[in-house]
Amino acid sequence: MLPDTVHKLPREERYAYARLLAFMARVDNELTVDEMALFEQRLGTALLSPRQREMIRSALKTPPPLEECLEGLGPEAGRLALRDATLMAAADGTVDDDEREVLQSIVDYLGLAENSVERLLDWTVKGAIWMQEGFDLLNTLSE
């Protein structure tokens, strides 16, 4: 929910970005409320049409293969999708081996630095702390 550039991508790439997130959400075969909240938030940020959102939500039930998701992504869309896939992987509080493997596959596909996954996971932890501070702040308002 912060200033982003996802909405500036071409429509097809925004759709591919959302499909990748749908894929990521289902890697561990579970779909938690946290993942769903993040997924819906990112669909909103991508300014997809209501029809596209419906199609993407159905992709959650039967996720497309990873290769197919990656094919539709340009360099910028791919990087933003990697970042948000990292957020998605961490949404339930843990990043399991399967999720880490998928993130590394995206990094390899995009030709990014070897330590990209670790750096993005560190960044994700910082974001979780920031979000928690927001909740804490709300709780203390006018106490």
Binding site: P3, E76, W130
Partner: protein, 141 residues
């Protein structure tokens, strides 16, 4: 960690919360794509029903009156709206005086003191910094 208290709002509370976001976004007259994107993101995060989102999008052209919206909301909804109103106001890169005026109105209705409001602005600034780091990691700057 991404489930926000807005998920637990009643449909009427969720609607009022989103209306306040629309009021803030429309405050400076020009509704930019970044503001639309953040409103859609916040409605998504609150997991609002798709039909309610359609109703709310229609309000972008005819903004509701702030007092009528706020009078039916509880302090906790107003506080969440205050936090996110600052995010909406910040999203186009600068705070407009009309946006600040509305944020202060929400803060007053929520019973939030000046120092606490400043802390919220500071929190948003820190979030911006955090988010900007992702562009640096991805070499998108």
């Amino acid at each position: 960690m991404y489930v926000d208290l807005t998920v637990d709002f009643t449909p009427d509370e969720a609607k009022g919360y989103a209306q306040l976001m629309i009021i803030v976004a429309s405050a400076d007259g020009a509704l930019v794509k970044e503001e639309l994107a953040i409103i859609e993101a916040l409605m998504g995060r609150a997991m609002m029903h798709p039909e309610m989102r359609v109703d709310l999008r229609n309000m972008l052209e005819k903004t509701p009156q702030i007092n009528l919206v706020m009078e039916r909301l509880t302090p906790i909804v107003l506080k969440a709206a205050l936090r996110d109103a600052i995010l909406v106001a910040a999203v186009d890169g600068e705070y407009d005086s009309e946006e600040i005026k509305i944020i202060k109105q929400i803060a007053k209705a929520a019973g939030v003191k000046k120092a606490q409001l400043s802390a919220l602005f500071e929190w948003v600034k820190e979030g911006w910094e955090w988010h900007k780091q992702s562009f640096e990691h991805l070499k998108l700057v």
